[in-house]
Structures are given as structure tokens and as C-alpha cells.
């Protein structure tokens, strides 16, 4: 009789069209600094939600019987994601029943591990896209284009503008009148 159990840390990405402000209304939403809570990616319109899946598998080698118990702590709102490993295992078992073939009892672990890994990969991918979006927004804010009658947003430069009309004083730009 062999027992194997572990608690699998998972993070999934979930579509979220709420704004950052509406997130601040919930306890978890306003505590995003704490990695225990979820993380909202505004430009990707996603939430990264963390959770755990408890897995217990027992192998009875003498009788050739295997029992697997999985407890998912994930939120039922994204049930399609949550039920994915369960559906995969069901498929495997239905498939092998038809062919009367032998399945390595550790396939349960593989199903959960591969699902979890795929979720992790997607999460990091979206995280990356969000970082890129932040950089893009920063560039837009820091280097706004100049319109004729508008002052250049502060660039902290002590140099004159392209046509020599603007001058920086104390980090603030003023229009020099001639």
C-alpha cells in the first residue's frame, strides 16, 4: 500500500472586465499587494487567481487497485478551468476501458501536473504582456507629443525645445516670451 499526497499550488488567469477602481471595493481587491490575493492586470483585462489543489493517491499493489482523491480549493466561478483535470482523467479511464489496456497508476499525477504547468505558463505570459503594456503607457506619458499651443510636459531637460521657444526653469517648463 503506497500513499502519496501533496498540495499543488496553482495560479490561473480569469477574464475580468472590471476596472481597477471597482476591484478596490472588495477586501481582496484592495489588498492586491498581498500575493495571497489575486492580481488584476488592467491592460490584459485578466485576474490572476491563486489557489490550491489537494491530491491524495493510494496504490494497493497487491490488489492492483488505485484510489485518487482530489480536493480543489478553486473558485467555482471558473468551473470550466477547474473541471479540466477531472475531465481529462475521466477521458483516460473511459478510453482505457474500451481497450482493456493497462494504465500506469501515476497518470493522475501527470494530468494534474501538466494542467497546473499549462496554467502557470499562461499566467506568466499574460504577466509579461501586462509589463509590456505598462512600459508602453509610461513611454506615452513621459514623451507626449508637442502641439503648437501646448507646453511640453516636464521632461526635466535644461535644454531648449526644437524651435528654441521653450525653456526649462526649476524643472518646470515655461514659455519664454520674446
Amino acid at each position: 500500500m503506497i500513499d502519496c499526497w501533496y498540495i499543488l499550488p496553482v495560479r490561473v488567469q480569469v477574464d475580468c472586465n472590471d476596472t481597477q477602481r471597482s476591484h478596490a471595493l472588495s477586501t481582496a481587491g484592495s489588498n492586491q499587494m498581498d500575493p495571497f490575493h489575486y492580481l488584476h492586470l488592467p491592460d490584459e483585462r485578466l485576474d490572476i487567481r491563486g489557489s490550491h489543489i489537494g491530491i491524495y493517491v493510494q496504490h494497493d499493489l497487491t490488489k492492483g487497485r488505485n484510489t485518487a482523491l482530489s480536493i480543489s480549493f478553486q473558485d467555482g466561478r471558473w468551473s470550466r478551468i477547474v473541471e479540466e483535470p477531472y475531465n481529462r482523467i475521466k477521458e483516460v479511464m473511459e478510453d482505457s476501458q474500451g481497450h482493456q489496456s493497462w494504465e500506469d497508476p501515476l497518470f493522475v499525477h501527470l494530468v494534474y501536473l501538466t494542467s497546473a504547468l499549462r496554467w502557470w505558463n499562461n499566467v506568466l505570459d499574460s504577466f509579461n504582456n501586462q509589463l509590456i503594456a505598462h512600459v508602453r503607457n509610461a513611454k506615452k506619458t513621459y514623451f507626449r507629443t508637442i502641439r503648437d499651443d501646448e507646453l511640453i510636459p516636464c521632461a526635466g531637460k535644461a535644454s531648449t525645445g526644437p524651435d528654441g521657444q521653450f525653456q526649462s526653469t526649476n524643472g518646470r517648463l515655461q514659455q519664454r516670451t520674446e
Binding site: L39, D104, P105, L117, G171
Partner: protein
């Protein structure tokens, strides 16, 4: 004129907070992925110990083939996990870089000092 400066400062604050939050989460992801690696090791060990080395009477060709298939699967998971780990590390470095940039921007403005390094 003041308005746009204030807007940029607001933007900086918001971006700063967002980036710090992301850094905190990345750290947690790191420890969770470490945990995942330990679990994979444990499964690999258990499989090798109890299932990969069966006695002769159980050595049916299908069983052997399936066992090897599972073993390869576990190895593949390990290598994918390594890739995910390096990706996470890359993201952490990226986030730190962006934070440094924003920090530089914020400080240049607050001191009111001119800087030519933009």
C-alpha cells in the same frame, strides 16, 4: 502647465504601486513554483521506486511500455517546469528594471533638477 505635471506624478504613483504589487506576486510565484518542483521530484522518485522496477511476473510488454511512457512524461514535466522558472526569473528582472526607470523619472521631477539622461 501644472496640471500635466500633476498628471504625470499621479501616473508615476499609480505605476509604482502596480509594479511593486507585481514584484510581490512574482516573489510568491517563485516559491510556489519551487514547491511544484519538489512535488514533481517526489512523484518521479515514487514512480522509479515502486513502479518502474517491477518483478518479472508483472513485466507484461504493455505494462513496461506504459511505465516508460509515464517516466518520459515526468521528465518532460521537469524540463517544462525549468523553462517556466527561468521565465519567471526573467519577468522579475524586467519588473525591477522598469521600477528603476520610473524611480529615476520620479526623482528627476521632484528635485527639480535638470537631467540630460533621458
Amino acid at each position: 502647465m501644472d496640471n500635466s505635471n500633476l498628471q504625470t506624478e499621479d501616473f508615476n504613483n499609480v505605476l509604482n504601486k502596480a509594479l511593486h504589487t507585481m514584484t510581490a506576486h512574482l516573489h510568491r510565484y517563485g516559491s510556489e513554483l519551487e514547491r511544484l518542483a519538489d512535488i514533481v521530484e517526489h512523484v518521479k522518485w515514487q514512480h522509479q521506486g515502486f513502479f518502474a522496477n517491477r518483478s518479472d511476473k508483472d513485466a507484461h510488454p504493455t505494462v513496461e511500455a506504459e511505465t516508460q511512457r509515464t517516466q518520459l512524461g515526468i521528465i518532460q514535466i521537469s524540463s517544462q517546469l525549468e523553462a517556466v522558472n527561468s521565465f519567471r526569473q526573467e519577468l522579475e528582472d524586467k519588473t525591477k528594471n522598469i521600477l528603476a526607470l520610473v524611480f529615476l523619472r520620479t526623482n528627476v521631477r521632484r528635485d527639480g533638477m535638470a537631467s540630460d539622461d533621458q
